[in-house]
């Protein structure tokens, strides 16, 4: 048999039918649903008198626009959407971790936590950061609402195969530098469209050394490089993470499953359409300075000068970004002063992220110039575990707010948002204009850098803490 990539294998296992022109009907094993991109899909089912093909494959959770502050009332419009999800799930026999369920959390955090995300699966969700689940050797990608309806009704999607791309992170990450820094630096190198049309496998020594949490951070950001999906081969780290989770196979079934999952890697000699090699051993903590994740620099660098950019379209983009961000070329990144700090989102709200931030914050105080510092755990489980370790006290004593799980200030659909002109050190994944609130200015960073910025009142090198 010819050597296959991980993506080739996942693809092959799921083709139900291949049309002459290369369009495949791809079977979907797991469908994750949240309140914002699903109401119109459920309405579509009703209008055409269709039923879910396999309701037991669907797991739903409200996360995008729920409140995260204790005892805060939800705005009535959001409430309608959350209520619609609950109603749709009960009408169609779909399992929902509802608002009052201790398992509720960000859809991409809870899937893996409960073993709803398994290696070898195809996983979709009406959310672009579904790529997160690829960390488990799964083919996971975001879809639009029409496709949500299509998967609900048929358990399949019409797809064309993407190109194979491999990113090899070689070397070992230096202390204080993590998965978020590696993936931001990668996007800086290949660009926000660098992965267009590709399914990207992340490999190399640095990835092999990463925990599942860190791998999820990397795959989460694959979409910010324009990739269709991000994925990582199954290894012992993967298996150890999954074993014993609620929906993971057990007993004899576990043995069978893990034997199967051990095949989920690219064969030696498998061909990639595009290969990128990236040595992370000298990498510094990263901070974005613009309005696309590709606009990123090391903590010791300065805001670049558009005048030095030769391509006129790029130059204009940089100038526009700097105007929006209110930054001058040549300003050292360390002199940029955030007004707010947000630690959360499906990129960086897992236990390991909170531990990394807490270890920087411990025994220190948030700078007086910081107006708001939020820690929003990714799920009910993360929150409980963090509290068992006393992390909530570390954060609170330093002056952070300790919130309930949800997407929160990652996209600011709820009350957590920036005021116009406010600058934020954020562990989320998008620094687009207005992403965290109209006129808000976002700098994407790792949890450790966000924590250091909160304490120092400016971007600071976490390695000096």
């Amino acid at each position: 048999m010819t050597a296959e990539t991980l993506y080739d294998k996942l693809w092959r296992r799921h083709v139900v039918h291949l049309a002459d022109d290369g369009t495949a009907l791809l079977y979907i094993d797991r469908h994750l649903v949240h309140e914002v991109t699903s109401p119109q899909a459920f309405d579509g089912l009703r209008e055409s008198a269709r039923k879910p093909w396999r309701a037991s494959s669907v797991l739903a959770v409200p996360d995008h626009n729920i409140p995260t502050a204790e005892n805060s009332a939800e705005d009535p419009v959001s409430q309608l959407q959350v209520a619609a999800l609950a109603k749709n799930c009960s009408a169609f026999g779909i399992t929902e971790f509802g608002m009052d369920d201790p398992r509720q959390g960000i859809v991409h955090v809870i899937g893996p936590e409960y073993g709803a995300t398994l290696p070898g699966m195809t996983i979709v969700c009406g959310d672009s950061h579904t790529s997160t689940h690829g960390a488990f050797g799964a083919l996971a990608f975001g879809i639009g609402t029409s496709e949500v309806e299509h998967v609900l009704a048929t358990q399949c999607l019409l797809q064309r195969k993407s190109k194979n791309m491999r990113v090899t992170f070689s070397g070992a990450l230096p202390p204080g530098v993590g998965a978020k820094d590696a993936v931001l630096a990668l996007i800086g190198k290949i660009g926000a469209a660098g992965g267009n049309g590709c399914a990207v496998e992340f490999a190399g020594a640095a990835v092999a050394a990463m925990s599942m949490e860190a791998r999820m951070t990397v795959c989460n950001m694959a979409i910010e490089a324009g990739a269709r999906a991000g994925m990582i081969a199954v290894d012992q780290v993967t298996l150890d993470y999954i074993k014993g989770r609620d929906y993971a196979p057990a007993g004899e079934m576990w043995e069978r499953a893990q034997a199967d999952w051990r095949e989920l890697h690219s064969d030696a000699g498998a061909a990639f359409d595009n290969e990128v090699e990236f040595d992370v051993s000298q990498l510094a903590p990263q901070v974005t300075w613009g309005t696309s994740p590709e606009m990123v620099a090391g903590i010791d660098a300065a805001v670049p000068d558009p005048a030095a950019e030769r391509d006129p379209a790029r130059r204009e983009n940089m100038e526009r970004a700097l105007r929006y961000m209110d930054l001058q070329p040549g300003t050292p990144i360390r002199e940029i002063k955030p007004d707010s700090v947000f630690i959360g989102s499906c990129t960086n709200s897992r236990l390991e992220d909170l531990r990394a931030a807490a270890s920087v914050v411990k025994g220190k105080k948030v700078a007086k110039s910081i107006k708001q510092a939020l820690v929003v755990p990714g799920s009910g489980l993360v929150k409980r575990q963090a509290e068992e370790e006393g992390l909530h006290r570390v954060f609170r004593e330093a002056g952070f707010e300790w919130r309930n799980p949800g997407c929160s200030m990652c996209l600011a659909m709820n009350a957590d948002r920036l005021a116009p002109g406010e600058r934020c050190a954020s562990t989320s994944n998008r620094n687009f204009e207005g992403r965290q609130g109209r006129g808000g200015r976002t700098h994407l960073v790792s949890p450790a850098v966000a924590a250091a910025a909160a304490i120092a009142g400016r971007f600071a090198d976490v390695r000096e803490f």
């Binding site: 290369g22 037991s56 959407q81 959310d127 048929t154 267009n196 687009f432």
Partner: protein, 215 residues
């Protein structure tokens, strides 16, 4: 889904790369339970000087005179011209719905983000990818010639410029077929229901753990 065959219309130029879905339609409008009515808030934060939400009367908001779509010259445009990586960011189909509701049926750019591209196709809109040089030339023409319009012909995969120049474009055969005929994807897929069931039966034996119920 509505069919798309031919389209003639005014072209509006949006001269920015990496136009993301947050810019196409900001999050507050995603709270709607409907697919319609998003045209008034397309490019909301660029188009208006004040903040709006689902309950605003958009006709009463302050328009940003510097934003291209507020230029009377482009009123009624049906074709949007943009730069590389158009529609990057989230999966929100509201971005396609908003463009469509505003009146755009075709977007021309050097490249598109994957999910956005699919979302257009599902809504009777045609995304056309042309090479950078071609897009540069179109920007120059649109900006220098008021009333610049193009004719898009999907059956022959050609765009015709006012000077009769013909610009060919690529589209996958299956997508073209579905768009031309306005086919309901779900109904088409369900014609393969037997194949889907056969697949499931086989996989249940090979990998039963994939079929466990979440509860």
């Amino acid at each position: 889904m509505d069919a798309f065959t031919t389209l003639s219309g005014l072209v509006a130029p949006l001269d920015r790369a990496n136009v993301d879905t947050d810019a196409i339609i900001p999050k507050q409008y995603l709270k709607s339970l409907k697919r319609t009515g998003f045209g008034a808030v397309l490019f909301d934060e660029w188009r208006y000087l004040d903040q709006g939400d689902l309950t605003s009367d958009h006709a009463k908001r302050r328009a940003n005179p510097d934003f291209v779509l507020n230029d009377a010259r482009y009123a009624g445009a049906k074709i949007l011209l943009a730069r590389r990586n158009f529609g990057c960011g989230s999966s929100r189909e509201h971005a396609a719905w908003a463009l469509r509701d505003y009146g755009f049926r075709c977007v021309i750019a050097p490249s598109f983000a994957d999910i956005f591209f699919n979302n257009c196709m599902k809504n009777g809109m045609l995304p056309v990818a042309l090479d950078d040089a071609r897009v540069d030339a179109l920007f120059a023409a649109v900006e220098s010639q008021p009333g610049y319009a193009l004719s898009v012909d999907l059956p022959s995969q050609k765009i015709t410029a006012p000077d009769s120049e013909e610009i060919p474009f690529e589209i996958e055969a299956a997508q073209k077929h579905r768009l031309l005929n306005g086919l309901d994807d779900i109904a088409l897929t369900l014609e393969h229901a037997d194949l889907i069931r056969q697949y499931e039966d086989r996989r249940k034996k090979e990998a039963p753990w994939l079929f466990g119920r979440v509860a």
